[in-house]
């Protein structure tokens, strides 16, 4: 179990790395003089490539972040293990849901 979680976290990290670099670059490029919705939407709407790109980003983040947080909470708080697991699974769900919703919204 620990091994699978470890693998999942590192593999998603490896996927996230290039995605995040592109995302950051893009943000910096796009942010010039303030964002407008139309700008964003123009870029993303109807573009299946971007949709897939951000979906992958969201899915990976929704796997990666809860596993990371699970360690943090286990180590820095005295919360019982069971609760921690439940909490981070919830967090993963929330991230996934909101994230995909956002992607759908801009698609």
């Amino acid at each position: 179990m620990e091994k699978s979680l470890f693998l999942a976290q590192r593999i998603t990290a490896m996927i996230l790395a290039p995605l995040a670099i592109i995302h950051l670059g893009l943000t910096l490029f796009a942010v010039q003089g303030g964002l407008t919705a139309t700008e964003i939407l123009n870029r993303t709407q109807g573009n299946i490539g971007w949709a897939l790109f951000y979906s992958l980003f969201v899915v990976c983040a929704a796997i990666h972040a809860p596993i990371g947080l699970r360690h943090v909470i286990n180590e820095w708080t005295v919360m019982p293990r069971r609760w921690v697991n439940a909490l981070v699974i919830m967090l993963g769900g929330v991230l996934l849901l909101l994230g995909l919703q956002a992607v759908a919204a801009v698609y």
Partner: protein, 105 residues
Amino acid sequence: MAALAHRLSGVLLALFLPFHFLLLGSALEGADELDRYLRFADSPLVKIAEWGLVSLLCIHLLLGIRVLCLELTHWPHRSEKLRSWILPSVIASMLVGLLFLVRAF
């Protein structure tokens, strides 16, 4: 030190990401809505928050790559060599964050 910065940035990212998504998700309500938010986002406060998010992502990214190198590559004595990664990472993130701010205004 590096681990602490990485950890804090990771945790903060995880906490702020839902709001970021929420923001984008409001595009569902239509472009107008989003525009209103983005106008609201013009306010310095939100700019700073977004700036935070960008810097955090950047630093977490760079330090994360450092951890991946530490663990998954195989060069001897890499831990010492990668110690020098820390400061440049922080500076780079600051620069990226700064760039973001400059461009945003």
